[in-house]
Amino acid sequence: MWAYVVRKFLLTIPILLGIVFLTFVLFKYIAADPAVAYAGKLKSPEEIEAIRHKLELDKPRWINIHEACAQQSFWPVFNSQFFDALRFHYPQSIRYQESVWRLFARKAPVSLAIQFPVFIIELGLQLAIALYVASHRGRPADYLATILAVLGMSIPALSIYMAAQWFFGACLRWFPVAGWDTGFYALHFMALPILVSVIMGLGGGTRFYRTIVLEEINADYVRTARAKGVQRREVLLTHVLRNVMIPVVTNTIVALPLLFTGALLLERLFQIPGFGALLVDAIGDQDQPVVMALVTVTSIIYCLALVATDVCYAIVDPRVSLK
């Protein structure tokens, strides 16, 4: 077992390196020079040079031979942009004049405050609906759920957000249209985004879990349990639900890092100062260090979550071969 886990993580190292490498090449070679965008109209060469120094763009990209030669030692070789990226050391945000990491630490809890309730409510509803629908396969409820799921997946998310904002916020005035507040008062602003996200995510998830439940519900052990006289309801809630939990758990782990990153459109549209809105703003402001850090860090956490999923799968489900 441990050998499997260790091997799994060792196999991930090239992928993690690949992520850093890929994003580095994207942002350093294909993207425009952020210093020029930052300097704006007042660009004397000296000023641009100063900005480049501040954004650490004056370091060599890959290896710093000059410094190593100058100092007559080996280690300054790694004082380069690529190894900075590898150490997750990013230059300051252009807009906020603040370390990228501190920025993340400030924004992530806000996103989590929205995404965590959404996640819990959604998971519960999806499982409940999937269990119900799968046990009534081929009946109207099943068709209705499938149709609603397909309908929901075909509408652009942005339209749904805007429609909800307009209908609940502007027409009915049940919730504020957009905004955010600190502490307890945030609840007031959280309600509508949470409601909309739950509705949005319901379709796809229900459909996915329905397939899983259907696979289990036709299994032999269900028939045996029914033949022994166990109530239908009890079979569903104990036997089937337990087996369904395997894909559910693994799915949950993959979704966890995305809880911190939040939803891009949702946060921007409802003016929630979270992680997703940070990315949207950074793109608008050409705040390259933030965009690069966000993409790299999110991908790496996501990748680690994928590995953790594989490992959990092996722990939970003994049928998975550990080869």
Binding site: K8, L11, T12, P14, I15, G18, I19, L22, T23, L26, F27, I30, A31, A32, A37, V150, L151, M153, S154, I155, P156, A157, L158, S159, M162, Q165, W166, A170, V177, L258, L264, L265, R268, L269, L279, V280, I283, G284, Q286, Q288, V291, L294, V295, T298, S299, Y302, C303, L306, V307, D310, S321, K323
Partner: protein
């Protein structure tokens, strides 16, 4: 991460070229109620899919809808549209109206006018052209990368396989939307978005769409690559490949004449479901200001409406949403039907 991909699926379906013989020659098939012997001549594969497809009314409806979109999209390449989308009919917003102020029935006003008094109907139809461009070109880019890498990795194996697995594991470890946004941002931040388009006419057609197409096309090959690699690994050890090799065929003909046609179903399904994603992601990119800037796309129309809507201007967003909704719905369902019809494991089973 790679073990579960390698031929985990041990279905025993015959390769497509040989199935007619397989069914006739094998007497055990008669015992299975679900498998039917071909009544007269064995039907060809596309013919069989088409027959299965034709019996399904809903699938046909979706097919017709997609065909209409295709037709409108092709018509909208005419210069007439380029002119009409910029014609101002009034000073500013006007709600949908059947007749123009002087009493004529005027289709241009049926769906209202936007902020500069331009016809929403024309702009929505023009959006079909953008959607068509995006879906087709993006798919071509993504599918060619996916197919080539997938086939090479699956067929040749060895270090090529390792490199390609590393590449797609890396790319697929980055959440897709994030990767598309990052790539679009990077391309957009370059001063010339159409930097590889030197030709003037190409520039006129693709100009504003380049960023979107490149960002999605260069990232969406991963799923297909993985599927095709798995399929090729299953196929390359089959008898018909061995037979082809015994007849003296080289790698090229075997790959393109014998193996590639057996993966077509994967390509078709990926295309129909991928197109849905492209249309939807275009909306996101438009919202982030990374999408099409110089032409009316559906995404831009919805994005424009984010401020209009609270002032009661609902028609532009509604029309654009409806255009996307109907197309995506049809494509989604078509994709599902195609998967059912083309999946070899469901063959011969009348569902």
């Amino acid at each position: 991460m790679t073990q579960e991909l390698q031929g985990s699926n041990s279905t025993t379906d015959a390769p497509r070229g040989a199935d007619a013989f397989g069914q006739v020659g094998n007497p055990t098939h008669k015992a299975l109620p679900a498998m039917q012997l071909p009544s007269e001549a064995p039907r060809s594969r596309p013919r069989e899919v088409w027959d299965r497809f034709r019996r399904n009314k809903l699938a046909m409806l979706c097919f017709v809808i997609v065909a209409i979109y295709l037709l409108v999209g092709m018509c909208s390449f005419s210069p007439l549209f380029d002119r009409k989308i910029n014609d101002s009919l009034a000073e500013s917003y006007e709600p949908p109206a059947w007749r123009s102020p002087d009493g004529h029935i005027e289709p241009q006003r049926w769906l209202g006018l936007d902020i500069q008094g331009r016809s929403v109907l024309w702009r929505a139809l023009y959006g079909t052209r953008i959607a068509l461009l995006i879906t087709i070109i993006t798919s071509i880019i993504a599918i060619s990368i996916g197919v080539i890498l997938g086939i090479v990795a699956g067929y040749f194996g060895g270090w090529l396989d390792d490199i390609i697995i590393w590449l797609y594991s890396t790319v697929s470890s980055i959440p897709w939307l994030l990767l598309v946004i990052a790539l679009a941002y990077v391309i957009q931040s370059n001063d010339s978005p159409g930097f590889f388009l030197r030709h003037e006419r190409l520039q006129a057609i693709f100009g504003g769409v380049t960023t979107v197409i490149l960002a999605m096309g260069l990232t969406d090959w991963v799923g297909l690559c993985r599927l095709i690699r798995g399929e090729v690994i299953k196929l390359r050890d089959r008898d018909f490949v061995a037979a082809a090799r015994a007849m003296g065929l080289g790698n090229g003909p075997i790959l393109f004449r014998h193996i590639l046609p057996n993966t077509t179903h994967l390509i078709i399904i990926t295309f129909s479901l991928g197109a849905v994603g492209y249309v939807q992601v275009e909306v996101v990119l438009a919202f982030l200001g990374l999408g099409i800037t110089d032409k009316p796309s559906w995404g831009r129309m919805i994005d424009d409406a984010k401020l209009e809507l609270l002032r009661g201007v609902w028609w532009q967003a509604t029309v654009a949403t409806a255009m996307i909704f109907v197309l995506c719905l049809a494509l989604n369902m078509l994709g599902d039907f195609l998967r059912d019809a083309l999946d070899p494991r469901l063959r011969g089973v009348d569902s």
